[in-house]
Symmetry: C2
Subunit: 155 residues, 2 copies
DNA sequence: CCCCGTTAGTTGACGCGTCAATCAAATGTA
DNA sequence: TACATTTGATTGACGCGTCAACTAACGGGG
């Protein structure tokens, strides 16, 4: 039995794909909107504040922060600029490495994070966890693991 | 037996959630990048071009186009502005309804779409379909259906 | 016919993300 | 020490998305 030539995408596959990607996008948008109206934070803000909240001294080197949230430096830099304007964080030059910059959570930032945290988790519950059976959740995990395995290699 | 008070999110649930949303985002970004480098189109461009390609006369009223791609009018208007600059589409006032505007696919647009289409489907195959077993694909469909059911109601 | 509410579409402001360029400090190497 | 390379971070340009404000035309009720 010969390896069959790879078929082009079937209608079923295409439908599943479209539903998957559109649903993920819809979910993301809904969650974003909830977070925004609950706490005036974007999901980006939230991730940064979370990372800083958990950090020693509520402070991280910029590149460490980038690693934690998984962003490119450029993106982080732009985002921190916006967050600094709102006084959610502040930047100061690093002592050990003069090139570097230290990002510290401000009082306002800590407060905003606390205010946003519970409603955000609630939204995850309402919009995602609540919708799925335990079996489906297990299926989701299996799926994401498989996708990751295919996606990770690519830089 | 009383309805138990809703528990807060468990570590497992949170992990599954994070993996789900991050993977979806990673996948989206990869696909976007592939489409961009294969054909200089964004996924937004692609959706618009697809809709117009399938339309009678390669032409749609702006609001109909918005309905097909599922976007707000404002977003569509901005996007069409950018696409018009690149001469992928052109806009002309509508005859029946003077308020309206008709969007027509240009030759360049049709060509760009044809050029992007095959590589795009290939990318969906490579980055998504290929990664999952048939059982997982079925699971994905079940999951998206459940999520939709929870998400749709909200306007 | 005139007014009013609805509908079609555009615009501007602003936040977000990516890419490529830049700059300075740190580090490795001759 | 001197010079090239790498690394940490910022910047500017530009596309993308949302929100709110706006313009203009349609359509119905008086």
């Amino acid at each position: 039995m010969t390896e069959p030539r790879r078929e082009s995408i079937s209608a079923d596959e295409l439908r599943i794909w479209r539903n998957y990607i559109e649903t993920a996008e819809l979910l993301r948008a809904r969650l974003e909107r909830r977070l925004q109206s609950d706490s005036s934070l974007s999901s980006g803000d939230y991730g940064v504040l979370l990372a800083l909240s958990e950090a020693d001294q509520h402070t991280l080197r910029s590149s460490d922060l980038a690693a934690v949230v998984g962003w490119e430096r450029s993106r982080l830099s732009h985002h921190l600029g916006r967050m600094e304007k709102r006084e959610l964080i502040c930047r100061s030059p690093s002592a050990e490495d003069t090139r570097g910059s230290e990002i510290r959570l401000t009082e306002m930032g800590a407060t905003a994070f606390r205010r946003g945290s519970v409603p955000h988790l609630r939204a995850v519950q309402d919009l995602f966890l609540e919708a799925l059976t335990p079996e489906q959740l297990v299926g989701v995990e299996s799926m994401t693991d498989s996708l990751r395995a295919y996606l990770e290699p690519e830089t």
